[in-house]
């Protein structure tokens, strides 16, 4: 176990360093002068005063060699300082934390809803294997993968905000405003989770101890609740952790359409504006959380899975 944790800690460090370096490179490998992009993010307009460009380049040190700039950032980050945003000149941490909180809330709600729906649908499909209900659940949930967010979101807004007036069309102000974005984000996880739960339950149903329990006269309902679901849901822990990491920074479209100031939008704007410290800070937090979460999921998986526990023992 200690070896596992040590390996994952090393992975965390390497991932964060790699991600922060790649993000750092973006403004320099994409076309255009970073200083001009920063200026335009603050004062829109095409005409940019060359003297201002020079002064800003000097002040921010973005004309220095890349490795110098990166090491400078690394030194600060090592002492717990994410630096100041190039565009707003406010501490990066003050922008990242509120956005992270919003995204975390949204992602937890999304995965919670997706897990609940998937457990019900996946279990039902497995228990009805090969029948109409199984085929219907599988077909419908697989179709969720093909529905693009940029199409579904406006359609849901049209129905529930414009026509029925039962939900707000945008914003992040209370549970009602979370319903539509969470629904849009949850569809794809539901598709994957349902499939995983179905397979997990089917595997568990055919396990020797389950068959033995049934042969001893244990009722179907009790068998499912006591022996099938605990094992059948194991794949969900790892899958949910992977989705968690993906949704942390990958819900830009939903955040833009529903005007939610989360991490996706923060990172998108930061890259667009060449706001290197903000982009680096945001990515480091997202990558760090992703590695921590997948590690935690693996640990939970190991603790819950009797075969893996036995293997460790």
């Amino acid at each position: 176990m200690m070896l596992f944790l040590a390996r994952r800690t090393a992975t965390l460090g390497v991932s964060v360093l790699l991600a922060s370096f790649l993000v750092f490179l973006i403004p320099y490998v994409t076309p255009g002068d970073p200083a001009r992009k920063i200026i335009r993010s603050r004062v829109s307009g095409e005409v940019v005063d060359e003297a201002t460009v020079q002064a800003l380049t000097l002040q921010l040190g973005i004309g220095d060699p890349l490795w110098t700039q990166y090491l400078r950032w690394l030194g600060r980050f090592g002492s717990g300082d994410m630096g100041l945003s190039y565009t707003s000149r406010t501490p990066v941490v003050e922008q990242v934390l509120p956005a992270l909180w919003i995204t975390l809330s949204m992602v937890v709600a999304t995965l919670g809803a997706a897990a609940l729906v998937s457990v019900l649908l996946g279990t039902a499909a497995a228990l009805q294997e090969g029948r109409l209900a199984d085929k219907a659940i599988t077909t419908v949930t697989q179709a969720f993968i093909a529905i693009p967010e940029y199409w579904l979101a406006p359609v849901l807004v049209l129905i529930f905000a414009l026509k029925l007036s039962v939900l707000p069309s945008a914003g992040w102000a209370g549970p009602a405003s979370a319903v539509l974005p969470v629904t849009v984000l949850a569809l794809r996880p539901i598709s994957h989770f349902t499939s995983a739960v179905r397979e997990g339950v089917l595997d568990a149903l055919s396990a020797e101890h389950v068959v033995a329990a049934r042969s001893r006269g244990l009722g179907r309902r009790k068998t499912v609740l006591k022996h099938v679901l605990p094992n059948g849901l194991l794949p969900l822990t790892t899958l949910a952790a992977v989705w968690f990491a993906g949704l942390l920074g990958g819900s830009v479209i939903v955040e833009v359409i529903f005007a939610i100031p989360g991490m996706g939008r923060l990172l998108y704007d930061a890259v667009l504006n060449s706001d290197i410290p903000l982009a680096q800070g945001g990515v480091v937090v997202v990558v760090g959380l992703a590695v921590v979460l997948t590690t935690a999921a693996d640990l939970v998986h190991r603790l819950l899975n009797p075969r893996m526990r036995a293997h460790h023992a």
């Binding site: 255009g32 603050r42 307009g45 000149r89 406010t90 406006p154 069309s169 359409i257």
Partner: protein
């Protein structure tokens, strides 16, 4: 000439902004009908990027929110600069202007508006590391208090446009307490009809009525300004009633909004013209007859009707016809393929390498515009290829003259409500943004003369004359004049559309309770 310019300073300014058709003003509503308990929601298209720094675009948000006020301001109805926090102004020497402050004005924190407080606020903007377009050390060399009620602005060269600069939202005045922290704090430190009371970062700004507003009773109890970048979402919110005002409506949402009886769609000419820039410094564009031939080959009416779905009007030159400096009698060039062919022959043009049009990806419609132009030019045997690119990627080539044609659009009034900055930067020989690489001695003389001319009407005449040079020489092809489109709920009263979205929440804005 030194001019004494009182409140009648800039007659006829930006008539386009002042057209009564720009908005609806709730005529017929008596002030007694106003419900003083009402609050409204305004959906704006951008969030403050640089915190609340006045030199940044965040100043626009504070201004449209009815918080930030300037020494002078634009009166859309009268089409001129009028007093605001200053009651008068006077050019006291070639390089100096004195502004007399209004008596009895207090900031929302109770501090009195004095020359010292104004100087403190303006100097903060002047000394910013990324200075404002309208108020920076290249155009303003100093700000000082002459006495308790008088602020003196000094310029490096004689300029009749100082009152215009002091109407820029970037020169809004905040109380000294706003600048005590590391970042600007506008909460309770403005002079306007609305006081910001809370902010959800990147989401919204909530404001309450300023009970002690110097301009009289504020009709609304308060407002919320939301920052919603997606145009379709803004359009939906005004339809659902979640928003009372939605700024900058996309063309794709127009028909739905126009069909909704609870919503009014407001349109006004914006100071933006989509333009096909041509590199006048490079063959074959260095031949005026070649450029005129391309202009004759284009069908601007069809372009406006198809790609822009009627939400933009075919252009007649570098200015919109409703602008006070528009070229008299200017007409939209009509497509004439035969004339185009003759001009091409006169220019000695023979089809060779395909000419390239760069379509900037930041404006999604430009790819379609480029395709229409490509088809039009194909009809006169001018081969064209299209390249889409990010603006930042092609900017160095545009500035250095290493391109053929590029589709772009400029806001002529982006710094001040006068096109001098645009005409200077974009078309003078030494212009800092002369993408066309155009250079004409007569044009430069006209612009230099205009820059020194205090008489507004005469200055506008000089602009028109300069514009005619650009049009006659077909320096670029001005394609369509874009329109500012906003939508408001039908029960909103006394709302006047500002195409530049500087003034939205005003003391007189009302909302009926129904």
């Amino acid at each position: 000439m030194r001019a004494l310019l009182r409140s009648s300073a800039a007659m006829g300014l930006v008539a386009v902004l002042a057209l009564s058709g720009c908005g609806f003003s709730g005529e017929g509503e008596s002030p007694q009908a106003a419900d003083l308990d009402q609050r409204i929601v305004v959906d704006n298209f951008r969030a403050p990027v640089a915190d609340w720094a006045l030199e940044s675009d965040a100043a626009y948000i504070l201004s449209l929110s009815g918080c930030l006020e300037t020494l002078t301001r634009y009166d859309e109805a009268a089409g001129k600069i009028v007093p605001s926090l200053a009651t008068g102004w006077e050019q006291v020497s070639d390089l100096e202007w004195d502004f007399t402050l209004r008596d009895g004005v207090k900031f929302q924190d109770g501090t009195a508006l004095t020359a010292d407080t104004v100087v403190n606020s303006l100097r903060t903007v002047l000394e910013a590391e990324v200075p404002a377009r309208a108020f920076n050390p290249t155009v303003v060399s100093g700000v000082e208090a002459i006495d308790e009620r008088t602020v003196r602005i000094t310029t490096p060269t004689e300029s009749p446009l100082v009152p215009y600069r002091l109407a820029s939202v970037n020169t809004g005045v905040l109380a000294p307490a706003a600048f005590e922290g590391e970042t600007v704090d506008p909460f309770g430190h403005c002079t306007g009809p609305f006081t910001p009371v809370s902010e959800k970062p990147k989401q919204s700004l909530t404001l309450d009525r300023n009970e002690d507003y110097w301009g009289g009773q504020v009709q609304l109890a308060g407002a919320e300004v939301r920052f919603i970048t997606d145009g379709a979402t803004r359009a939906t919110q005004v339809q659902t009633g979640e928003a009372d005002v939605s700024l900058s409506i996309p063309v794709s949402s127009l028909s739905a909004l126009e069909a909704d009886e609870n919503v009014k769609v407001l349109k006004a000419d914006s100071p933006r013209t989509a333009t096909l820039y041509m590199n006048n410094g490079k063959a074959p564009f260095d031949d005026v007859e070649f450029r005129q031939a391309l202009r004759a080959a284009l069908d601007l009416n069809t372009l406006a009707g198809s790609v822009y779905e009627g939400a933009a009007l075919p252009a007649s030159g570098p200015f919109a016809p409703s602008e006070p400096w528009a070229i008299e009698g200017a007409q939209t060039p009509q497509q004439d393929v035969e004339a185009a062919r003759q001009l091409l022959a006169a220019a000695g043009y023979t089809a060779g390498r395909p000419l390239e049009i760069i379509a900037i990806v930041e404006r999604a419609e430009f790819a379609d515009v480029a395709t229409v132009i490509q088809e039009n030019l194909k009809a006169v045997d001018v081969p064209v290829k299209i390249r889409t690119a990010e603006y930042a990627a092609v900017e160095p080539d545009l500035l250095s003259g290493d391109y053929d044609m590029v589709l772009s659009q400029r806001n002529r009034l982006i710094d001040i409500a006068d096109p001098i900055g645009f005409l200077t930067a974009d078309y003078t020989c030494d212009g800092g943004y002369n993408l066309s690489h155009f250079c004409d001695e007569d044009y430069d003389k006209l612009i230099a003369q205009a820059a020194r001319t205090a008489d507004t009407q005469e200055r506008y005449r000089l602009y028109a004359e300069a514009g005619k040079i650009l049009q006659d020489q077909a320096v670029n092809i001005w394609l369509v004049n874009e329109q500012a489109i906003d939508a408001v709920r039908a029960n909103l009263g006394s709302h006047v559309q500002d195409p530049l979205a500087r003034y939205v929440l005003r003391a007189e804005t009302t909302k009926s309770g129904s």
